[in-house]
Symmetry: C2
Subunit: 459 residues, 2 copies
Amino acid sequence: MLSTYFAEHKERFLNELFELLRIPSVSADSKFKPDMRRAAEFVRDKLTAAGLDNAALHETPGHPVVYAEKLIDDALPTVLVYGHYDVQPADPYELWNTPPFEPTIRNERIYARGSCDDKGQFYMHVKALEAMLATDGLPCNVKVMIEGEEEIGSDHLGNFVAANRDKLKCDVILISDTSIIANDVPSIEAGLRGLSYVEVEVVGPNRDLHSGVYGGAVHNPLNVLCQMIASLHDEKGRITIPGFYDKVDELTPEERAALAEAPFDEEEYKRDLNLKAVFGEEGYSSPERASIRPTLDVNGIWGGYIGEGAKTVLPGKAQAKISMRLVPRQDPDEITELFTKHFISIAPPTVTVTVTPHHGGQPYVTPTDSVEFEAARRAFREAWGKEAIPTRGGGSIPIVALFEQELGVKSILMGFGLDIDALHSPNESYGLFNFYKGIETIPYFYKHYAELKKTGVEA
Amino acid sequence: MLSTYFAEHKERFLNELFELLRIPSVSADSKFKPDMRRAAEFVRDKLTAAGLDNAALHETPGHPVVYAEKLIDDALPTVLVYGHYDVQPADPYELWNTPPFEPTIRNERIYARGSCDDKGQFYMHVKALEAMLATDGLPCNVKVMIEGEEEIGSDHLGNFVAANRDKLKCDVILISDTSIIANDVPSIEAGLRGLSYVEVEVVGPNRDLHSGVYGGAVHNPLNVLCQMIASLHDEKGRITIPGFYDKVDELTPEERAALAEAPFDEEEYKRDLNLKAVFGEEGYSSPERASIRPTLDVNGIWGGYIGEGAKTVLPGKAQAKISMRLVPRQDPDEITELFTKHFISIAPPTVTVTVTPHHGGQPYVTPTDSVEFEAARRAFREAWGKEAIPTRGGGSIPIVALFEQELGVKSILMGFGLDIDALHSPNESYGLFNFYKGIETIPYFYKHYAELKKTGVEA
């Protein structure tokens, strides 16, 4: 029985995850390249051990994709599990209470880079499949694809998918890389924002100058960059880039009312983040601002003297990383172009501005009345004894839109994280409860999905 | 004869300066503390070797002051030479074409941190005094005070001067720590701007957040900081801090006309800095903006992810270093207070703002019709065969106002640098011509000063 298997192998599941978390598989930094391969090989070996077939590394011009499958019956539907074994950089290291690549349990949580995003989450699938294969067997065919470039834009996965359409043919894609509302309020993400990410550089004089000798007569690139960035929002918190909102659909009052049913406690939100006040686009609630509305955030800024003490320099250039979260119908390439055109147009004649795009991602919406979504809903109902609320997430998984385009199937975002997991931040963590509860929930998805596909019962 | 002595010892003068430049006497960084002492001892020993008496290190709670003197006759006037043996940090090292503490000559210029500011300049005095003592003797009493904390605000020199008023008693202070207009257009600085320097911190959420999950609903401290900084100037390039201009005196048309006589070629200025256009407060010329008008410059800004690639972080805080150059009657402490009050008042309710003052400095003006100024003018006339133009400098030497207050005497700013020397920047340099011409000019100051004091002839 599954529950017995889980109980007997619980500790090993965690030890294996710890082994994986100890590998610093940071895709963004080439010095971790050997670790990336080690992580991929680890995943391959565990898929084989779980009982899947043909587990192998597939080379790309970047980091390898790990693929495995268990095809049991042509007549049964096929689920493709997607995840990523790469993690965000762990900088700044000094802000971690324990080393990012030495997983540690405190307060029933696993602290480590990637503990939730996405090692802890995709590894639940590996263990759920192992348990199913070792006990009652699989009710569907299964394909597993774990990539190594999600945190750097999945640059080579598009080609891999396009070149392997037959191999990856499936009826639904199952992904655990998102969050639920709370451990007593399960939810399923029915939408994701897209992403446009740019790096900007403002160059003034050809060298750093003495601010006493030149200050006042030479336009300071740091002041200029601040002015340019400040002008990207108006006083109502709206983005001022011409055309930016052209393809943003307003939700109907009914749709907004449905979303508003998800519990949200603003006081608790403020307390958790130690915020004095929330802020965002006028006319929208905090959950709306973070999900159904597009945004523009400075992710990093630097220039001039940033060491200790005072240095009276008028720097030659200023730089920033700026990203925009996009909602359905906003195209990342189009938005990047609008941004670039606008940003260059608002530059004063004293400076030279360069905009360099990083990877982007398409926004995504899943219909909540599909067989797939209903299967996920029933899985939560059975495993958690509660109804899962459909939500619209603020983050971006760029590859989801690509899957739909290349493979013609929808993705189910059945993630088990929490807002407090601190993804991409120091002290990322993942609840032990979430790890084990996820492993327990996944087999129910297969069961209900197979049943619903057979009986054709719609939600 | 002086000229013969100079010719015979030219190479040694330069070799000694190189020795001094090789000592990385960065006062701002405690890891260079042993080098600070080495530099002070080097200066002490060279003052002794030059023939001065009582050369010694005087301890302070920070870096030591080097003092020496040659008192020849109570009836003669006394000149106090001031300079500093500390230098600015050399960061960023990678932008130096040759190592900052390995002086190198290229195109008749000495490249090294401190080559001009101020080792190259104060060392001219040490060598000029050596030459005078070795040949015709001194026409005045001389006191030499070389400090080690100019680049960090001369924090302990004030106490040292106050505690040694008798020892430092003098008729004029002679300082070479400023620039001339060009090698064929000598000039003397008749005024300096003051300085208020602050560090600001804008804190939002208690940790770095995922910009997808929180973006739009949590006010981003980087965006906030940019908006706050942007609002510090209006569209006419004026500073918006209430009360900032209250004590700024407008120069009379005659005074402005006199300053405008100093040659200034805007096209050459732009070419030198590779500027597309100049910019500054409406209604003022570039030289005026950089001298008789106060300014506000961001000297450094940082926050969020500043490494390679893209990281979708909504950072918990943003920081900047901001300095204001002040003109006569603007008090640094008062301006720092106005800034702090204003900056905190414009912070949105979503963030917590902290303003930390660094050292400041009083603005300063020297009358151009004094015996001292006339002595400097005559020294240039005799050594350069040209009239020196009185200018108003943009930089700040905070200690000059303190000297006037504590010792009751004016300072003559007889510097020999050039705008192209790149003070405080990578690849700081000092012209060989300027080094040698400075050594040659200094004895003429003593000669004319002694004569003018004796005869009482005014300019």
